[in-house]
């Protein structure tokens, strides 16, 4: 594919999501403002105001109603998207389960942000981690390019897997940071997506269907196990769609990104924007001859456990760095990694880290010090908090 200058632009993560949505041009978007997601829906509203898209936009009176309207719209056979953050995602929580239980392929872009209290508008993963069992496919993005790509991939994945998809970027770190990226032509995106043609629709009045029935002890269990099977099957569909996407974009995404991982002895595992800083640190330490590497998680739900554990099997020491607390236990990715290793014979030491809650900056020196601790074997079962001020 020829890349001309107009396909190379500088955008924030939020604007990159809006650009991808413009090229998807969903039939319906139901939205509600919340920081730091708002630029996405504002930018999209301007596209509509300027006649660039025909999408029906529902300006709902809450996130709860926004996602509820998305359920109605998607069940009516319309390609449907929304976006939110933080408290908004928490308010949607009840309906997240309805959307996935009805197997509705809704796309939601999330600018991940801390949860109250105390109130904080900045980035971390508390909101999306709180929704990890809601039956939504979850894809993390490192930078505006990945936000753009994942938004398009996510829409197709939702419709192929028959499940809703969350495309996640770090609030402010990515949503409000400008980077260069390469975009496709709208026609390419439309061709890539194809038509949304669901088997059943509320608008097909000749074939009336009841969505959302009451299902009791004799059937509920089967519905849920069936739904989980669809989630597990989604990993392979994601891989296939990534391959198709690479054909038109020359950018190949995978379950995870392995950065200098093959021979790495000291490895950091994380998701999201911090991967950029971590890669710089890996480069610097590699120059000094250190065998360090990074595994950046892209697909978090379904969790590609075997692939991730296999990629980590040669590591001596691993630090799992997370921007979320799972109160009273280890954070989610650490739990997934440790339980994954238990199914193999490999027994690397694995250190849980929590960092950057509520938008606390993380610097290269912080990541260097994580690698130093790994190298020293300074590893314990106690959670370490990177960047935490001493509590007085």
């Amino acid at each position: 594919m020829k890349i001309n200058n107009k396909n190379r632009i500088a955008l924030t993560g939020g604007a990159a999501a809006a650009e991808a949505l413009k090229q998807i041009e969903p039939d319906v978007m139901a939205v509600y403002p919340i920081t730091p997601q708002t630029p996405i829906i504002e930018t999209y509203a301007k596209f509509k105001a300027d006649g660039e898209v025909e999408t029906e936009i529902i300006e709902a009176e809450s996130e709860h109603s926004a996602i509820s309207a998305c359920v109605g719209s998607c069940a009516a056979g319309a390609r449907t998207a929304t976006a939110t953050s933080s408290q908004g995602l928490a308010l949607m929580n009840e309906i997240l389960y309805v959307a996935s239980g009805m197997r509705l392929p809704i796309l939601m872009v999330v600018a991940a942000r801390a949860l109250s209290a105390p109130i904080n508008i900045h980035g971390d993963h508390s909101d999306v981690m709180g929704a990890r069992d809601a039956g939504w496919i979850q894809i993390f993005s490192e930078n505006p390019q990945e936000v753009y790509d994942n938004t398009i991939i996510g829409m197709k994945l939702a419709e192929k897997a028959g499940l809703p998809v969350m495309v996640i970027m770090d609030g402010f770190n990515t949503s409000h940071s400008v980077e260069n990226l390469e975009i496709l032509e709208k026609e390419q995106v439309q061709k890539f997506l194809g038509e949304f043609n669901p088997e059943k629709s509320l608008l097909n009045v000749d074939d009336p269907v009841t969505f959302g029935p009451l299902s009791l002890q004799n059937s509920y269990f089967e519905f849920k196990v069936d739904q989980d099977a669809a989630m597990r099957a989604a990993a392979e569909i994601y891989a296939d769609i990534n391959a198709e996407f690479a054909e038109i974009s020359r950018r190949m995404h995978s379950y995870f990104e392995a950065y200098n991982l093959a021979d790495a002895e000291q490895v950091i595992v994380l998701a999201g924007s911090t991967a950029g800083t971590a890669k710089d640190v890996v480069d610097k330490l590699r120059e000094k001859g250190k065998k360090v590497g990074l595994l950046k998680i892209n697909l978090f739900r379904p969790f590609p456990r075997e692939e991730i554990i296999s990629a980590l099997k040669n590591a001596k020491n691993i630090a799992v760095m997370e921007r979320a607390i799972s109160s009273g236990t280890y954070s989610p990715i650490y739990q997934d990694i440790v339980s994954g290793f238990y199914q193999t014979d490999a027994r690397p030491k694995i250190q849980p880290y929590i960092y950057s809650l509520g938008g606390r900056d993380i610097f290269a020196k912080d990541i260097e010090s994580v690698f130093e601790d790994l190298e020293k074997g300074d590893i314990s079962k106690e959670i370490k908090y990177s960047g935490l001020n001493k509590i007085i």
Binding site: A49, I58, A60, S68, V71, E195, S201, L214
Partner: protein, 340 residues
């Protein structure tokens, strides 16, 4: 049951004997000339009509959750608008009909209480839909807890009558006035006890462009505690005592559809006398505790509430100084760019 009656809602549901909402559904939907699509809040109607793998609905139907029937139908309605703009024949076996009536049903709990915000949002956004609240004065699906539609003095599981309590101490919320505050073109209060009136109102609601609203009295045999054969009688008594006046609000103007003579009429000649509230209360288990000397004041207070609400309604109906036509917003202005 005759086929015409059951064309939208089949007889094989599991609503209680003596429940009125199957009649409400059939009466209202029967007045639509166009195909209908239903959104339903969690509640009695939903659980008794959709027990998997069965459904009583012979029309497209979605139950999302308790508080969001209005938001859900907003999404369906806009999806219809969006798909009509496209060549929808590629999407479905048969093409999407140009005209569909979108109807949301909720009980009073799902409407007056937990779904009020969702309803308000959908009314304000001006979706083309009819919202129907079937009002049985409480959370009946979960076993008779009080809602903001429960009458003053009612004995419920969460406002039980006892040595120190005569039941619910608050007045009912006036939802019709809240709905009217959205300046929608048509809102009406109707009853399962007067089907010709309900039919006429359903027809008007379906003829309305934009949102319309019907509040329908639905006596609950199970939790009002009266014999199953008497739901129509109690619905009628609710109107004859002015507890549940039948009226409509068109473009802000009130019309009382069942006028009665009361103290406020000062000798005006009207066809009927208002029956005392006791006529409605007696025989209902939820008000049984009121018929004791120590609770006589509660019945007196109920009568006072009913009369003052009626007087207020009459004044609103007599005023009608409100502009006969609501200011129109030219809906096409905002979309002209993309319809060309």
């Amino acid at each position: 049951m005759n086929k015409e009656q059951a064309k939208n809602f089949a007889p094989g549901h599991s609503a209680c004997a003596g429940c009125g909402f199957p009649t409400i559904i059939r009466t209202i939907l029967g007045e639509s000339k166009d195909p209908v699509v239903i959104s339903n809040a969690t509640g009695c109607m939903e659980v008794t009509s959709t027990l998997y793998p069965y459904t009583a609905w012979k029309v497209p139907y979605i139950h999302n959750a308790f508080e969001n029937a209005a938001a859900t139908i907003s999404g369906v309605e806009r999806a219809h608008k969006a798909l009509l703009k496209k060549n929808v024949e590629t999407r479905h076996a048969s093409s999407v009909p140009k005209k569909i009536k979108f109807v949301a049903f909720g009980g009073d709990g799902g409407t007056y209480d937990i779904g009020l915000q969702s309803l308000s949002g959908a009314l304000e956004r001006g979706h083309n839909f009819l919202y129907v609240v079937y009002d049985n004065g409480g959370y009946m699906n979960t076993g008779n807890q009080r809602s903001s539609a429960t009458p003053y003095g009612a004995n419920t599981e969460t406002t039980p009558a006892g040595k120190e309590s005569f039941g619910k101490i608050e007045m009912r919320k006036n939802l019709m006035e809240i709905v009217n505050a959205h300046r929608i073109k048509y809102a009406a209060q109707a009853s399962v006890g007067n089907l010709p009136d309900l039919k006429r109102k359903a027809r008007k609601a379906f003829e309305t462009e934009g949102p319309s609203f019907l509040s329908v009295m639905q006596p609950c045999t199970n939790n009002w505690k009266f014999p199953t054969s008497m739901f129509v009688q109690y619905a009628k008594l609710a109107t004859e005592t002015n507890f549940w006046p039948l009226y409509e609000i068109e473009n802000g103007n009130y019309t009382i559809n069942y006028p009665v003579k009361s103290a406020a009429d000062h000798g005006a000649s009207l066809p009927r006398e208002r029956k005392p509230i006791e006529e409605f209360l007696k025989g209902q288990g939820r008000f049984k505790h009121l018929f004791t000397p120590e609770n006589k004041h509660v019945i007196e207070e109920m009568q006072r509430i009913v009369d003052s609400e009626w007087e207020r309604l009459q004044k609103l109906a007599n005023q009608n100084t409100i502009p006969t036509k609501l200011p129109e917003i030219n809906q096409t202005v905002g979309v002209s760019a993309q319809t060309e």
